[in-house]
């Protein structure tokens, strides 16, 4: 098997089947690349379909006022800096998700809520699958760094929906959170409404700063890189497969490829000519 196997043999086999290999590479990679590009296009389309409308944001800010006892100094500032984290922790519980889910589904239909909310990167959730877990994509709360301020934010494609969700969040703070934290008081700082374009909404950092490792950027499904990836990977894959097949053919079906192959039986090569094609009329 390996007596007549070398680079020259592989190259000779490739030269013999070069047109077949090229056609297969072009054909298969064209089909696979086309499929990839169509899928990328569909994903991009679905992302931009949802993100076409302006995002309505309703936000509210609270100041966390620590209750300093008599005799306590301001030296416990490290402890006071952690108090806003306790308020934020309440909003990260399942209890909060359930609280908002129960009240918002009473006021609006599931299908309406799903249609007005972007659940991230073009994911379409059917109205049956809207769960309390999805509330995390609607409400965001964060502590402004090195301050005692908490910022709450609700976003959707419907202004009224955003405001109603914000109202529910405020009710939650007043009824469930404020009573339970005895060493601080929440003071309402103000509320505002905004309307952001899709590009502006994509650039906003909605989450808590400590959790903002995955900053939401504009949907990047249809970038040049992803398209090139979709084209190059099939080409490389099919080329590699073709090379493997050629190597196997060269290994198991050896051919005469050089002068030294004739010498095994002491047959001299008296001349080498280019493979000629048939000519009519007595010409060479």
């Amino acid at each position: 098997m390996f007596e007549h196997f070398g680079l020259m043999d592989i190259w000779s086999t490739f030269k013999r089947y070069k047109w077949i290999v090229i056609l297969i590479i072009l054909g298969v990679s064209t089909v696979l690349s086309w499929k990839n590009i169509v899928n990328i296009g569909k994903d991009t389309e679905s992302v931009y379909m949802i993100n076409n409308a302006d995002v309505k944001v309703s936000s509210a800010s609270y100041y966390v006022e620590p209750l300093i006892e008599k005799g306590q100094g301001i030296n416990d500032s490290k402890f006071y800096r952690l108090i806003p984290e306790d308020y934020i922790a309440f909003f990260n519980t399942d209890f909060f998700n359930r609280y908002v889910y129960d009240r918002i589904t009473l006021a609006y239909e599931n299908s309406y809520i799903v249609s007005k909310i972007n659940f991230g990167e073009g994911i379409n959730i059917s109205s049956n699958k809207f769960t309390p877990e999805n509330v995390k994509e609607i409400c965001f709360i964060k502590n402004i760094k090195d301050t005692m301020m908490i910022s709450m934010l609700c976003r959707s494609y419907d202004e009224k929906l955003s405001e109603d969700i914000m109202k529910i969040c405020k009710d939650f703070i007043i009824s469930e959170v404020d009573d339970k934290i005895s060493f601080a008081n929440l003071k309402f700082a103000g509320q505002t409404r905004r309307s952001l374009s899709p590009a502006q909404a994509a650039m906003e950092d909605w989450k808590n700063e400590e959790e903002s490792s995955n900053i939401r950027t504009a949907p990047s499904k249809g970038t040049v890189f992803s398209v090139m990836k979709g084209i190059l990977i099939p080409i490389i894959g099919v080329s590699a497969l073709s090379i493997i097949v050629i190597i196997l053919i060269a290994m198991f079906n050896p051919t005469l490829n050089r002068e030294s192959d004739f010498c095994e039986y002491d047959i001299p090569v008296i001349g080498e000519i280019d493979y000629c094609t048939r000519k009519i009329g007595g010409e060479k």
């Binding site: 013999r16 051919t255 005469l256 004739f262 090569v269 001349g271 080498e272 280019d274 000629c276």
Partner: protein, 176 residues
Amino acid sequence: MVGFYKRYIARKQERRKQGYKYISNAIIKMCEEDNISPIGITSSIDKSTQKYDICRNICIEICENGRNVVLINADMRFNQSKNIKSYHEGFREISLVDFKVSELRCILKEEKDKGDIIIVNIPPVIVLADALEYAKVCENILLIERYSYSKYKDYEKTILLLKRSEVVISGAIACI
């Protein structure tokens, strides 16, 4: 770009001509110095060698060297001789009618007296059984093999068959 292609074609033709010249000189040497005639040309590949065209081109080259040459076509697979016109003086082509060994022997007997170089186009030995009989009639055999197409197994088989029949193999012509 066109000029580059033309130069490439011209170089290829020049190389081919050089190859044929070299082969024809070797055959002339075999015939005149070693007194070998006829010379059979066969192959181990069934097709894709253009064996007949190579035989014709060798004969034309021998003719251009001032020798007379006879090409006897014993390959019954392709009936090529009907449409070919020969523009070269001193080059004759004979095709077998019944494709029998006795017929070939008769033709060879007649042609040997004329003193021309005789080349016999024999079909591949491993494809047709009669080819071995034709090869036995010839004093020497040349093999035409094509790089990347001639399988090693077929080549070995051909040589074994010829050697067992006590046929002398003078050399090989390689097609690139």
